[in-house]
Amino acid sequence: MSTKRNGPQVRDILGRSDYTIISGIVEPGSKVLDLGCGEAELLAWLVENKQVQARGVEISGSKVRVAIARGVSVYQGDIEQSLPGYPDQAFDYVILSQTLQQTLHPLEVLREMLRVGRGAIVAFPNFGHWKVRWSHLVSGRAPRTELFPYDWYDSPNIHFLTIDDFERLTSAQGWKLEKRIFLSGHKEVSLLPNLNAEVAVYLFRK
């Protein structure tokens, strides 16, 4: 693999390196809302290890059942329809992990995250990664990689974005990027992240 691996090794939490980064950002004892929280693995970990007050939103009933059985307060609903129901600045952090590219109105979701939370944490797969570019270039078809493993017709991803795209948007909106961490496998990436990073994690505020 020729991916640039020049950063420190990132260990996994619950089998995911982006969770490690996110849990490193979240302050102990804070109020956290996780959008698209699945079975609330991350939230349960944060409750146990960081004593956070955890809330989640998840559309899948079977996942919500597991999350609630874990003791986490999860609301069964669609992210975009649920967000307006929370009051302003109700949370310290609103987390959106690996889901931004699946939302119908990403900008509206990001705005709502900053209304509901004092800080927004977003992790997304980087569509600018060299493997994605290479796949598209040599196949002439919609790219398929480990990061984007779907055929175009059954992909849950509907808004593809690169690290540059995201930073252009946040800059245009005047949002402050407080932390940005780029990952390739289990390594942090600092050189040419838009080419070399598979996943980007941001903490940003209004």
């Binding site: 007050q53 809330r55 009933g61 919500v64 059942r65 999350a67 609630i68 059985a69 874990r70 003791g71 986490v72 307060s73 999860v74 609301y75 069964q76 609903g77 649920s82 129901g85 929370y86 009051p87 109700a90």
Partner: protein, 369 residues
């Protein structure tokens, strides 16, 4: 587990209608052991036609109405929690109601019994819980009307509940729910044997009460569950009778459930309890439902069922959205089921998993504080 119904007497109870009821008896059962700091008590609220016998077998071997949820290792785990269930005010299963003797006259109250509300029922339960020496309940839970009482607890006695689990219920009865109840009441009152409610020395208004129950049972099922259970299957015949006797299995079922109900339920209690449900509106006197939850500080687990058309999921979502809007601690799940409103009594596995996890976390949080 052999259970026995106990009774507690209270000198008086002030009611929302302005009258005072005196004295008041409450029938209740308990399961499991109350711990030393009395932090593990759960109050179970029965639905419209339920009673205090929620779990275990009574002396006659009758199994409690939520026995699949309450017991050792079950959702409400009696190895860990002390579970209480009482018959509601104006009921007919041991708690004072229209069939009880009015001490002032020596005769049954009948329709001279004062009108009651869900809040009155809950106020009486609070007296019982106080008598048992419990300052704060770990949880209050129930389905249907039981869920309404759980919501009322959260708002009326916020310091006395750590969590509530309202299932398949609403924060306010809708026009449709009132309408079905009114059909039931009219069926009873149209029965000449009802006699203005003074039937205790004569014949019970059994025909009216059983018709009321038949309507009720239809609303507790779903189109799917009825198709699955009965379809167009005939009852003990291959050809139509053309005589208005029972042709279809579903007719037989409804008649059976109706006549069975007459043996265990008082027609006047039917009138009083359905009215209490119809009066229920948690948001009454507040600018919004969300505002009515301002006082409620406990954790909430709200559950609804996809095929429940009597208490549709949108009503549960209304509760949950009001709570989210006030940033309360609320979990919500809509469970898949074809059983209609009855699902909360039937779909036990998923409910038990969620209730178990929710209660364990609630206990953890209150012992941390």
């Amino acid at each position: 587990m052999i259970t026995q119904t106990q009774s507690a007497r209270f000198n008086s109870l002030s009611l929302d209608c302005g009258l005072v009821l005196s004295p008041v008896d409450v029938a209740f059962e308990t399961y499991g052991e109350l711990n030393a700091d009395k932090s593990n008590a759960i109050l179970i609220e029965h639905a419209f036609s339920g009673d205090a016998h929620a779990a275990g077998a009574d002396a006659e071997g009758k199994i409690g109405w939520w026995d699949n949820m309450i017991g050792s290792g079950k959702g409400f785990d009696t190895d860990r929690y002390f579970v209480i269930c009482s018959n509601v005010l104006s009921g007919c299963r041991g708690t004072t109601g229209p069939g009880s003797i009015n001490p002032a006259t020596g005769a049954p109250y009948g329709t001279t019994f004062p009108g009651v509300t869900i809040a009155d029922m809950v106020r009486l339960q609070k007296k019982l819980v106080d008598r048992l020496g419990i300052h704060r309940l770990l949880s209050v839970s129930g389905g249907s009307m039981g869920g309404m009482q759980a919501l009322e607890w959260a708002v009326s006695f916020p310091d006395a509940v750590a969590s509530v689990i309202p299932i398949a219920c609403t924060a306010r009865h809708s026009a449709m729910q009132i309408a079905f109840n009114e059909v039931g009441r009219q069926a009873i009152m149209a029965d000449l044997d009802w006699a203005g409610g003074n039937y205790y020395s004569g014949k019970m208004p059994g025909r009216g009460l059983s018709v009321a129950r038949m309507v009720g049972h239809i609303t507790y099922m779903s189109d799917d569950s009825m198709r699955e259970k009965f379809g167009r299957r005939m009852r003990d015949r291959d050809k139509f009778g053309y005589d208005f006797s029972v042709d279809f299995e579903v007719e037989n079922y409804l008649r059976y459930r109706g006549s069975q109900f007459v043996d265990r339920f008082d027609a006047n209690s039917y009138l009083y309890i359905t009215k209490a449900m119809d009066y229920f509106d948690l948001s009454a006197g507040y600018p919004s439902l969300a505002a009515s939850f301002e006082r409620a500080t406990c954790r909430f687990l709200v559950l609804s069922f996809t095929s429940d058309w009597l208490y549709p999921s949108y009503q549960s979502q209304e509760i949950v959205n009001a709570l989210r809007g006030r940033n309360r601690d609320v979990a919500y799940c809509e469970l898949e089921s074809s059983y209609g409103h009855d699902a909360f009594l039937v779909e036990v596995k998923e409910q038990a998993e969620m209730v178990g996890g929710f209660l364990a976390q609630t206990l953890k949080e209150i012992s941390r504080r």
